[in-house]
Amino acid sequence: MLILNCPYCGVDAEETELAAGGEAHLKRYGPGSSDGDFHDYLFMRENPKGVHFERWRHANGCGKWFHAARCTQTLEVFGTYSAQVFEPPQKIKDAITAKRPGWTWREFS
């Protein structure tokens, strides 16, 4: 079972306590954006076989949203972090680099 540490209340939450919220760090495009950007925002997920950034909610706990960095190929968790950021903190990036040198994600690496 997937266990994620909630960065807000500090609890190691089992998956049954959590609700998955899909890919993280999406840039939102709305009215006035190009068709292509809007289409990508709505439908085109990264869907990597490897390092993945995603949103989770500690639904049956403190109720807060947070971010997690995880590997979709091994189910390894690299770490969790605040939802109030546009990209993962250096600590998380370093933890990933230690295990997956050369990883990249849309705008950062």
Partner: protein, 414 residues
């Protein structure tokens, strides 16, 4: 290829079964093929088969990284039905269901198609309206389904509890000619027929790159070397995104685990397939007597073919309420497959931005039932550049807002 028949069984019985030949060849790849299909699941093999049978294109290779039928085709719960809401879905699923009816004869391979009937229970007011609407849509589409009462449900499935405390059974959508088939046999039957046409099925060979020149596909790199081709079909289910990346484009889908399980075998107790979408569970009984059970997908992106156990628990809990007798059953095995989910829960059968490269994927949780129809349409698309069966399922529907929204029509994996 030696023909299978009652006579062949008798003949082999008399000579101690020494005369059976291998069902398909396992050749080394040639330098070049007219068409390469990546993925020897049901959809890839059926595409190859109808390319040969309907269009005479037989210089074809089907390349598989594991063993044929080892992906979702060998992991699903084998439900076959065509009672979808939207017209394009009804067309391709009903084409498939129709082909399943005499596929055993066509392939000379017993795929054990069992049109035992598929029942989708309505357990809320919302579902009653939804399924009655589907029944009416099906009438217009020429798909035979009907709305039945709780009493008829009980008659068809005596082990069901129609007045459960939370979700009583209020009626059902009934498709009499839906049912099940032997999933492995579907892959094996198509593989044998393809091999007999001279096609090469190359197992244990992973495609690692897509070669292109001037915006046109010219071949693939594999763990057994480079192979040239004129046209390429990507039919890899959960790995569609990976192959698309190799080919230089992106797909609007995500890979997620879907699990299923079977119980210990028991005496025959239920001879139809029952789906309970509100509580997220469905069940049928295999010929061996096992209760075959499935439910909804897991929650997060996953390529491991393993799911989280609490989903199994949720599925079983839901079914125990509707089928109290299964509460004492032991569950024998549980497994997972990686399904490719699109935004509108409908598949993608399409040309791609890369010339000569076609995609057939996004079947998600419900593509076993579609195998013959999908192969039929995909072969037509690849051979002629157009197919009425696949037209609506093109990649640009997301940009154009032409969704084929089946998530509302099913609401559960199947």
């Amino acid at each position: 290829m030696k023909h299978y028949s009652a006579f062949a069984v008798a003949r082999e019985a008399l000579r101690y079964h020494t005369g059976w030949e291998r069902a398909w060849r396992s050749p080394q790849p040639k330098k070049r093929y007219d068409v390469i299909i990546v993925g020897a699941g049901g959809h890839g093999l059926a595409t190859a088969y109808y390319l040969g049978k309907n269009y005479g294109i037989q210089n074809v290779a089907v390349i598989e990284k594991g063993w044929l039928g080892g992906g979702n085709t060998g992991r699903n719960t084998t439900i076959i039905r065509s009672n979808y809401l939207q017209d394009p879905s009804a067309a391709i699923y009903e084409k498939a269901r129709g082909l399943y009816e005499d596929l055993s004869q066509d392939l000379n391979y017993n795929i054990m198609f069992s049109p035992r009937g598929v029942m989708m229970l309505a357990q809320t007011q919302h579902e009653i309206r939804g399924y009655q609407r589907t029944a009416h849509a099906n009438a217009l589409q020429g798909v035979q389904t009907e709305w039945i009462t709780p009493e008829r449900v009980k008659e068809l499935v005596p082990i069901i509890n129609i007045d459960g405390p939370r979700y009583p059974v209020l009626g059902a959508l009934w498709q009499e000619r839906g049912g099940t088939a032997r999933h492995d046999a579907v892959a094996w039957g198509y593989a044998r027929a393809c091999s007999a046409m001279g096609m090469d099925i190359i197992q244990q060979c992973e495609v690692t790159g897509v070669r292109q020149e001037n915006g046109r596909v010219v071949g693939v790199d594999t763990t057994k070397g480079a192979i040239d081709c004129e046209k390429l079909g990507i039919v890899v289910a959960g790995h569609s995104g990976q192959l698309a990346e190799m080919a230089g484009f992106r797909l609007p889908l995500e890979a997620i685990a879907l699990q299923a399980l079977v119980s210990e075998p028991i005496k025959p107790c239920m001879d139809v397939v029952v789906m309970a979408n509100t509580v997220h569970g469905y069940m049928s009984q295999s010929d061996k007597g096992e209760m075959v059970i499935g439910g909804g997908t897991d929650g997060f992106n996953n390529y491991t073919q393993r799911g989280s156990f609490h989903h199994i628990e949720e599925t079983v809990r839901a079914l125990v309420e509707t089928f109290p007798m299964i509460s004492r059953l032991k569950m024998l095995r549980q497994w997972g497959g990686i399904v490719d989910m699109t935004g509108d829960r409908s598949p993608i059968l399409s040309k791609t931005p890369l010339q000569g490269c076609f995609i057939n994927g996004g079947w998600g949780t419900g593509g076993f039932k579609a195998i013959p129809g999908s192969g039929w349409g995909m072969a037509q698309l690849m051979a002629t550049g157009h197919s009425p069966l696949t037209e609506a399922f093109s990649l640009d529907r997301f940009k154009e807002g032409r969704f084929i929204d089946e998530s509302v029509a099913a609401g559960v994996a199947h």
